[in-house]
Symmetry: C2
């Protein structure tokens, strides 16, 4: 069949068909027809498919492979019982497939979830085998194989072995039962609780497909600001129905546990974790959960943080609370993910220090099936933070990484900010706790502290950016952050650049004239956002409550650490938070002391600390000379301006792609970039106007003065900004 | 090109393409390929298209026609400057098209918005002309023509003249600025206020297309429970951006006006409509609105109802309030739609009587550009109500009909309830105010009381069921209610059955084996819902707040008329609300007296009132003999059971359609019907369990006893049911 003929015909069918096909719903799993003249690999290496096996997961793998190959090749690939000649593709486990069984012990290294993709003779013919020890490993291998074709890689002479670097790779949905998504910028929750368990939206299946395609194996359905109702029988029925849809894709269901549920649901007088009645209640509740969901993953808990109930309400420790739940879950193989994101409403200590202070003394006190889930930085998902000092400081405790995929502090849905580089920076950060190379990645994969990895509990969580919007993530480019999170959870050593390249090719186009500039745009995008929002180590300058736009002037909120002014501490002399050691009873919070000595010395020294973290750790004179030769004040202004300029360049880059991408997605990206440029200017102008009111210094030559007086920016109100907590 | 070849090919492209194509997004505008062997009309009558004209609306009409014809015919229809032979299709106005100009005065009857579709010779060749006096009339004609083809009607020998029966045909969106939709069961609001005015979702265009396709010409963007913020400059910018998208489709933008806006936005001390400062504020505000939106339609106002502010707060009348706004709008051609849905929080009078009591004395006191918007029944969109006594009782005031399209009281999104029959019943109701045939339809079209139609203000409003759900309305069959509302607003005398037939053919299939049973199912669906929810004139038995499911036992809410028990008044002796005349100081509320004498006599007589309104107007003994020969108690139980049985039959009807409709829509409808059957049983069982606790009578032979004891039904809680106010 002539491809051009088909495409011309489809075009005449009208807009609705093509519109639906390129609205972003298909994510990176589009499988559009390849040009076989320039990429003939499928014709050679995927002529036939041999895929025996009857499990639900193998059925899913077979169907995905057939769907993907049919789309890419433009015709169905025959599914056969035995190959008729060279170029067959075999998939399976040793149990399901004789070809895979013939691999023998060489499959051992694939472990429980990994897979092998190997070019090898089968029955005397050159063939390709996608093999794993488990059905889910086969599915992961199938998605890897499809990715090779989607990104136009050679399909012959392959010897791929891939195993996950972490065991628990989960999305955390901050989704409420009324479908509001806290910090969600992509519509409502995809979980339609009201119609569950009877209506199983096909979208749940596509969610599971997308998760499995990047190796995610778990989902926390409910908000960390938890609602005990999610543990009632009716809601467990609903969660069980979802679990049934997700199960063939290897995605386990987890729930958040509200610590006070024994009071709210059980009618107990206390939720004290050492109270026998409370322990019995949780044990019975967990048993009930497992009657609904036999492979339930476990609980995610936010306790004694931002007003949530927790064990400290009863003068117990986080370990007491976590271990109580862990004890109830252990017989079923469930785990507890206990968040270290805590800061007390009474504590006057530097907020950046509080999680460490609370958790490090508990190292070694957590049950084997507890993981402590730590945000990448010590504060809260800011555009840039140093790594959290907890990483490396709890050698006896499995620490999970918690990244934010939804862009609460990074421009919501309309700013193009690729977070792969942020994740990579955090994972590559060297804690030095066991000498050079003690990276955060090695902490969370258990490579650094072998003594806790006895239980094999390692993990990475991403706060989901998924909602009911047709394109899932609110913008086309935000899909890349879901994608990058999954790929890095599977391989924390992977390259953000390589991941972005794959994503661009799968999501948009393999045209090198498209891939190269768009890749550059993505790779520079996070640094641009840092520059136009919070350059040089600044943080937490956003609007109160909704976190939309700049509000560095806010200083009148009840708790000191709610105020942007708490974080930047700008005054007539300078700007920045002194977290160095106190000298003569004066000076910094000494947060630097929470890091390994080698790191602490660097962070403590305003001349050694990287300039991109300077104001995080130091209060610095406006007149201090920077590496660029500019004063700090001039550098700050330059950075704000530079961030805007990069966004302008991103717009030009994208606009030049017109015609290399479908009109529908092109238009939305272009419109969002225009919004981003406008809002980057707003950030720049509002912050410069405010900081200039304190620094009293002139703008450097060439810098545009703010478009409006400071009062204008201070007057803006956004009562209906999305995603409120 | 062989159609079967194409379809087979498209099938091999995988699920995503076909899935996207039949997810309901395209509504009744799908334009799938016709089988030219059985329907050859397009080949004969639409060989070429002659469509000159450059206005935005003519461009839209031309594009829609080309899209529709290309989809139906499977190939583009040539757009030519002049026809090459017979079978050309001409569209235009006398200004844009010489062919149309040749119609001369015969176009006069089409009026401002109407159109002609006429088979006639043009330039010596047989041709078809779609002609109107206005561009928008051309677009309406194009959609009518496409409907003829979509429903496989003959395209030759046509002489169609169509003009709208009402001038203002609007959707009322009860959408909040945070995208929550009050009484919405289809996701969030389609208006993404946060990203407006910069991001214009293509969905806005498709919304406008769908509205124009059924003749709707206005949309009230904001909730009647109004927020003054929607009148601030930023939000007027956003509304103006929407207006720009909707304008080419003839859809005007309206907003709700919060009566206290002069206080909240203007800082005034009062919102008294007779205060000169308040009047000046509104005048300036309206001028400002028109600077943003030159063709702004006007305001919809809910005042002094359910806690909303209004003129009565200042001891002024509804007329005082409406006229103040009308005065500000009049110079710009804008109107006020002032809702008659009022019931006082202090009034102890029968709620069904209050709107009449407040509004009838104001007849003749409203400005020319005010319409009073009246719900079809005297209470609130119940499954069945008698017509509101206001219809016919205000001969000097234009009364707009307000229907509810969203199914607040009719099972939310999952119950299949075709409302065309409800609308038809209300419009056909005979008020008898000017003798037989004084139908509600004639009241709202101005045919009955010529004296108010001087200003030409007639209208119909539908409370929208549209949201961010992919299929727009939350369920595929709920699209039919949007469709039917539009068709009836255009032609209040149209037949609900004919409309449903068109809708089925356009939305699903022209296969007679599909159309006939599905039509029967739709036509019986509303009566089924009445039976399993509120048979025999019962009303308002639903759960408190969310209005989900049955709760006839509720009697402890603060205001009497919030309680279901207020409405059914069941006791040991009988059931029903006595609205007949009081006798000897005892007895009914005499609501019947608000109707014309002829009607009042029927309603007042328990032996003459239709049985389907019996308990609305009378408190009747459980033992009273009904037309069926059963006692009232037995009849009530029978009705509840019958409603469930009809739903079971609907399920069987639908299940038999498997294969006649795409798998994706088939599955959702089937799943929703299963939910409906389950919830119909729940309604039946809960209501019978409750009423039996009062009637103390045995169930008639053959009636299944409730599945659970009454206490079970009373214990059910639904804190996260969607759509809360």
């Amino acid at each position: 069949m002539k491809n051009r003929f088909l495409l011309a015909f489809v075009a005449t069918l009208g807009l609705s068909l093509s519109a639906a096909a390129e609205d972003g719903y298909d994510l990176w799993l589009r499988y559009p027809l390849v040009d076989s003249a320039t990429y003939a690999e499928l014709q050679t290496h995927a002529r036939e498919l041999v895929a025996p096996g009857t499990s639900a997961t193998l059925e899913v793998a077979r169907r995905e492979l057939m769907r993907g190959l049919a789309g890419l090749a433009g015709k169905p690939v025959p599914l056969v019982d035995s190959a008729s000649g060279p170029g067959a593709l075999y998939i399976g486990t040793p149990q399901s497939s004789p070809a895979v069984a013939s691999l023998g012990s060489s499959l051992r290294r694939a472990g429980a979830e990994g897979y092998i993709i190997r070019s090898m003779p089968v029955g005397g013919h050159p063939a390709t085998v996608i093999a794993a020890n488990s059905d889910i490993g086969v599915l992961y291998g199938v998605f890897h194989y499809l990715r090779l074709a989607q990104t136009r890689q050679p399909l012959g002479h392959r010897a791929i072995l891939s195993t996950p670097g972490t065991r628990i790779r989960v999305l955390d949905h901050w989704d409420n039962l009324d479908r509001h998504v806290e910090r969600g910028y992509a519509g409502e929750s995809i979980w339609d609780w009201h119609k569950l368990p009877d209506w199983l939206d096909p979208r749940y299946t596509d969610y599971a497909r997308a998760c499995a395609s990047i190796g995610l194996n778990g989902t926390v359905l409910t908000n960390v600001n938890a609602n005990a109702t999610s543990l009632t029988p009716d809601y467990l029925d609903k969660a069980a129905a979802l679990a049934g849809v997700l199960r063939p894709y290897g995605v386990r269901v987890y729930l958040t546990a509200r610590f006070s549920a024994p009071i709210e649901l059980g009618g107990l007088k206390t939720a004290d974790p050492l109270d026998p009645g409370v322990r019995a209640w949780w044990k019975a509740k967990v048993d009930e959960v497992y009657r609904h969901i036999p492979d339930f993953g476990g609980f995610l808990v936010k306790a004694n943080s931002e007003g949530q109930p927790g064990p400290q309400d009863y003068h117990r420790t986080h370990a007491d609370g976590a271990n109580m739940l862990a004890e109830a879950l252990a017989p079923h193989g469930g785990i507890v993910m206990w968040r270290a994101f805590v800061y007390s409403s009474e504590n006057t200590e530097d907020r950046a220090k509080q999680a460490y202070a609370e958790f490090v003394p508990l190292d070694g006190k957590f049950a084997d099936n507890v993981l402590v889930q730590v945000k990448n930085g010590p504060i809260d998902f800011q555009p840039r933070e140093p790594f959290s000092p907890l990483f490396g400081a709890m050698p006896k405790t499995p620490l999970m990484m918690e990244f934010q995929i939804t862009k609460e502090y990074l421009g919501f849905a309309t700013h193009l900010v690729y977070l792969g580089t942020l994740y990579e920076e955090a994972l590559a950060a060297d804690t030095w706790v066991a000498g050079k190379g003690s990276t955060v990645a090695k902490v969370i994969t258990g490579q650094l502290h072998g003594n806790f990895s006895l239980t094999g509990q390692t993990g990475m969580a991403g706060v989901a950016n998924i909602g009911s919007d047709r394109n899932w993530s609110g913008s086309h480019f935000d899909q890349a952050n879901w994608y990058a999170f999954g790929r890095l959870a599977w391989d924390p050593a992977a390259s953000a650049r390589d991941i972005a390249t794959d994503w661009i090719r799968m999501t948009f186009s393999n045209d090198p004239q498209f891939v190269a500039p768009v890749l550059d745009m993505m790779m520079g995008s996070r640094e641009a956002a840092v520059d136009y929002m919070t350059p040089l180590g600044l943080a937490h300058l956003m609007g109160t409550g909704h976190h939309y736009g700049p509000a560095p002037w806010v200083s009148d909120l009840k708790r000191p650490e709610w105020n942007p002014a708490y974080y930047h501490r700008a005054d007539a002399a300078g700007i920045g938070f002194d977290r160095g050691p106190a000298v003569d009873g004066k000076g910094g919070s000494n947060a630097v002391a929470q890091y390994a000595p080698k790191v602490a010395r660097v962070f403590a020294d305003p001349h050694k600390v990287p300039e991109n973290l300077l104001l995080w750790f130091h209060h610095v004179s406006w007149d201090r000379r920077m590496a660029s030769g500019r004063t700090l004040w001039d550098e700050l202004v330059w950075r704000y301006g530079h961030g805007v300029e990069v966004v302008s360049q991103m717009r030009r880059t994208w606009d030049a792609q017109q015609g290399r991408v479908d009109a529908q997605r092109f238009a939305q990206v272009a419109a969002f970039l225009a919004i981003q440029e406008q809002e980057a200017r707003w950030w720049r102008d509002a912050c410069i106007a405010y900081f200039q009111s304190l620094s009293r210094r002139p703008l450097p030559a060439g810098a545009a003065p703010p478009a409006h007086p400071l009062e204008y920016y201070q007057s803006l109100q956004f009562p209906y900004a999305p995603g409120r907590g």
